[in-house]
C-alpha cells in the first residue's frame, strides 16, 4: 500500500509540474513580449522627443550664428567662402555645429546641425541671411546746412562715377552737386571757383526745405548714437592718418587707423570697408580709407586724404591742402551752423558705386524676409 501511494503521488507531481511550466511559459512569453513592446514604444517615444529636441538645437545654432554675426570677417569674403562654427545651447549645454557660407554680395547661407541630449537623433536646418544696408540716398555729392564756401581750386561733382580702379555698375546719371536748405538768413553759399566747372550736377544746387539737424543726423531711422553701437572701429578723435595695414597677407582689422585700402582691391585690405565712428573732433592729415565714416564732432581733412564711401559729420567740415578726395557722398549736419569751407585742391565726387559698396559692406545681417528657413535633412 505504501509503495502504490508513492507511485500515485509521483505521477500527480509530474503532471502539475508540466502544467505549471507550460502555463508559466505562456504567461512569460506574453508578458515578455508585452514588455518588449513597451520598451520599443518607449524608445519610439524617446526618438520622437529626441528628433524635436535636435531640431530645436539646430535652430538655436543657426540663429546664434546669425546673432553673433561677424561683419568684419564676413564682409571681406568672396562668394563661396565659408567658415565652420560650433557652440552649445544655453541652459542644457547641448552642442551644435554648422557653417556660414557667402552666396553672393548680399546673401549668406547658414546651416546648423543639432543633436538631442543623448546624441541619438540629428537634425539639420538652414537659413538664408541677407545683408540689410542702411538705405541712405543723399541725392547729392554734398548735403549740408549752414554757411558754405567753396574754394577756388575745389570741385564738387554730382556726376555719378566709379572711384578710380573700381568696376561696378553705377547709376551713371547726374545728381545734385549740393543739397542745401533754401537760402535764408542762416543759409549762405559762396563759390569762389568758376561755378560752371567746379560745382557740377543736375541740378547744380538742390534747395531742400526738408533738411534739418534731425534729418541730417538720422540715417535710415537710426540716430548717430545708435550707429555707434554698430561701429566696427571707434576712434576717440584727435589727429589721424588712416593707413591700410596687413600682416602675412591678412588685413589687420584690429588697428583703429586701418580704414581699408580703396585703391588696392587685390591687396589684403581691399575688401575691408569698416564702419568707423569718431567720438570727438577729428583731424585727418593725409592717408586713405573706405567704408562709412561718422564723426560725432568737427572734421578737418588736409594733405591729400582720400576716402571712398559715405562721410557723415555732426559738426563742421573743413578741407584744405592738395589732393583731398571723397568718392561717394558727404553729409554735414553742422550743429553749430559754423561756416564750412571746402577749400584747397579738394574733390567731392558723387559715386553710387562707392557709396553703396560701403553701405552694403557695413550692413547688418538678418534672416531673409520670406522663405529664408528650410529643413536641410
Amino acid at each position: 500500500m505504501g509503495r502504490a501511494s508513492t507511485v500515485l503521488q509521483n505521477s500527480e507531481q509530474g503532471a502539475a509540474l508540466v502544467l505549471a511550466v507550460i502555463c508559466l511559459l505562456c504567461v512569460g512569453v506574453l508578458v515578455g513580449t508585452a514588455a518588449l513592446l513597451g520598451l520599443a514604444e518607449r524608445r519610439g517615444g524617446q526618438s520622437f522627443v529626441g528628433i524635436q529636441q535636435a531640431h530645436g538645437v539646430a535652430e538655436a545654432g543657426a540663429y546664434n550664428a546669425l546673432r553673433a554675426w561677424d561683419p568684419v570677417e564676413y564682409s571681406q569674403w568672396v562668394s563661396g567662402s565659408s567658415r565652420r562654427f560650433t557652440g552649445i545651447t544655453p541652459g542644457q549645454g547641448i552642442p551644435y555645429s554648422g557653417e556660414v557660407r557667402r552666396l553672393s554680395s548680399l546673401l549668406y547661407l547658414i546651416t546648423a546641425e543639432g543633436t538631442d541630449t543623448r546624441h541619438l537623433s540629428r537634425q539639420r536646418i538652414g537659413v538664408v541671411a541677407r545683408l540689410y544696408a542702411l538705405e541712405v540716398e543723399p541725392k547729392a555729392a554734398v548735403t549740408m546746412r549752414g554757411p558754405l564756401s567753396i574754394g577756388s581750386d575745389a570741385v564738387v561733382v554730382g556726376n555719378d562715377l566709379d572711384p578710380m580702379g573700381w568696376d561696378c555698375p553705377g547709376e551713371g546719371g547726374l545728381v545734385a552737386a549740393l543739397r542745401l536748405p533754401p537760402k535764408d538768413s542762416i543759409q549762405s553759399l559762396e563759390i569762389l571757383c568758376p561755378p560752371a566747372s567746379c560745382v557740377v550736377g543736375a541740378p547744380q544746387i538742390y534747395a531742400d526745405s526738408s533738411l534739418t539737424l534731425d534729418t541730417l543726423t538720422t540715417l535710415d531711422g537710426l540716430s548717430l548714437d545708435q550707429l555707434r553701437d554698430l561701429a566696427w572701429v571707434v576712434v576717440p578723435g584727435g589727429l589721424v592718418r588712416p593707413t591700410p595695414r596687413a600682416s602675412n597677407a591678412t588685413c589687420v582689422t584690429a588697428a583703429s587707423d586701418n580704414w581699408g585700402d580703396p585703391y588696392g582691391a587685390a591687396r589684403p585690405c581691399g575688401r575691408y570697408h569698416p564702419l568707423v565712428y569718431v567720438t570727438g573732433d577729428l583731424e585727418i592729415r593725409g592717408g586713405t580709407g573706405q567704408g562709412v565714416l561718422i564723426v560725432d564732432g568737427d572734421l578737418a581733412v588736409s594733405d591729400g586724404f582720400t576716402f571712398v564711401g559715405l562721410v557723415v559729420v555732426r559738426g563742421a567740415f573743413q578741407s584744405s591742402g592738395v589732393g583731398n578726395r571723397i568718392d561717394g557722398a558727404l553729409i554735414v549736419a553742422n550743429t553749430e551752423l559754423t561756416p564750412i569751407s571746402i577749400a584747397g585742391a579738394s574733390v567731392v565726387q558723387y559715386s553710387s558705386c562707392g557709396l553703396h559698396t560701403a553701405l552694403i559692406a557695413s550692413a547688418r545681417a538678418g534672416l531673409l524676409r520670406e522663405w529664408g528657413w528650410f529643413q536641410a535633412y
Binding site: L19, L30, L37, S79, L106, I360, E370, W371, Q375
Partner: protein, 298 residues
C-alpha cells in the same frame, strides 16, 4: 525482476473491497479542483493575451500618432502662408505647397532659354528637383540697395539635367516654363530656388470603411493623383485642423495663417474575434501647434 508469486496475485484479486481507487466524492472534489485550476489558468492566459493585444494596439496607436505629428510638423513649418503656400484650408483637409528642395543659383539664368543652374553642393531637401512634378520659387533682387522690392516668382519645372557650375562643381540645369525674361534677368547668382509640389492632405476613408491620413499630389500634366493612405487607422474625426492668425485668433483666410493647430485621433486595428475576448476599442489623440517659419516678417 521477479514476477509476483501466485499466492500474492490471488490474494489481491480475491479482495476487491480493499483495492486502492477513488471514491465518487474524491473524484468530484478532484474534478472541481481541476476545473478551478483550469479556469484560473485559462483566465490568466486570456487576460494575458488581452493585455498583450491591447498593449500592441496602444503601441500601434501611439506610433501612428507620432508619425502623423512628425509628418505635419515637417510639412507645415517651412511654409509661408502670406506668400501663398496655403492654397485651400479646410477643417479636415489642407492643400498646400509642400517644400521639397532648396538650392541656390550658381549661374546667371538663361532668360531666353528659360533655364537656371543650381549647385548640387548647396542643395538640400527631402529629394532632388523633379521635372513634371515640382514647381520652383525663385527670389528676384531688382534693386540690391533695398530689400523692399525683393520678390519671388514661381514656375513649373519642365526639365532637369546635369550641368556644371563655375569652378567645375556639379550642378543641375532646370528648365522652367512660365517665367518672363524680365523675371529671370532679376534672379542673381546665389539666389535661393525652392522646389515644391502642390499636395493635399486629408482625412480619407478607404473601401473597407477605415479612415486614414491620406496624401495626394498635383502634377501639372495629369492633375491629382489618387489618395495614398499614409497613417492610420484613424477615427471618423481623426483629423481636425484649426488655423490661427498672428493674434492667435482663428482665421479662415489662408494668407493670414501664422500657426496651424492639428488634432489627430488614431484608432487601434481591431483583431478578428468577439469583442469580449479583446476588450473595447482603443483610441488616443495628440494635438500639436505648428508655427509657420517662413511667413513674411514685415
Amino acid at each position: 525482476m521477479s514476477e509476483p508469486t501466485r499466492s500474492q496475485h490471488s490474494r489481491s484479486a480475491d479482495r476487491p473491497a480493499h483495492r486502492r481507487g477513488f471514491t465518487l466524492l474524491e473524484l468530484i472534489v478532484s474534478l472541481v479542483l481541476a476545473g478551478i485550476i483550469g479556469a484560473v489558468a485559462v483566465g490568466t492566459t486570456v487576460s494575458c493575451a488581452r493585455f498583450f493585444r491591447r498593449q500592441s494596439e496602444r503601441v500601434e496607436v501611439q506610433r501612428n500618432l507620432r508619425v502623423a505629428a512628425s509628418l505635419f510638423v515637417s510639412e507645415l513649418r517651412g511654409l509661408n502662408a502670406a506668400g501663398g503656400d496655403l492654397i485651400e484650408t479646410g477643417p479636415s483637409s489642407l492643400v498646400y505647397r509642400a517644400m521639397r528642395n532648396t538650392s541656390f543659383l550658381c549661374r546667371v539664368p538663361d532668360a531666353i532659354g528659360e533655364t537656371m543652374t543650381v549647385e548640387q553642393e548647396t542643395s538640400f531637401g527631402l529629394r532632388n528637383i523633379e521635372a513634371g512634378r515640382d514647381s520652383v520659387l525663385v527670389m528676384l533682387e531688382h534693386d540690391f540697395r533695398t530689400e523692399a522690392d525683393n520678390a519671388w516668382v514661381s514656375a513649373g519645372v519642365v526639365s532637369v539635367a546635369s550641368a556644371v557650375c563655375p569652378e567645375a562643381s556639379p550642378g543641375l540645369r532646370i528648365g522652367v516654363g512660365g517665367l518672363t525674361e524680365v523675371s529671370l534677368a532679376s534672379a542673381l547668382v546665389g539666389a535661393p530656388v525652392r522646389a515644391f509640389q502642390v499636395t493635399d492632405v486629408r482625412l480619407y476613408r478607404d473601401g473597407g470603411g477605415v479612415f486614414w491620413l491620406g496624401f495626394r499630389e498635383w502634377k501639372p500634366g495629369s492633375g491629382w493623383s489618387t489618395v495614398q493612405p499614409a497613417v492610420g487607422p484613424l477615427t471618423g474625426e481623426g483629423l481636425r485642423l484649426v488655423y490661427y492668425d498672428t493674434s492667435g485668433n482663428e482665421t479662415a483666410r489662408p494668407d493670414e495663417v501664422e500657426m496651424v493647430g492639428v488634432t489627430i485621433v488614431a484608432a487601434g486595428s481591431r483583431p478578428p474575434g468577439p469583442g469580449w475576448l479583446w476588450g473595447g476599442e482603443i483610441s488616443d489623440s495628440v494635438r500639436i501647434l505648428v508655427a509657420l517659419r517662413n511667413n513674411s516678417r514685415w
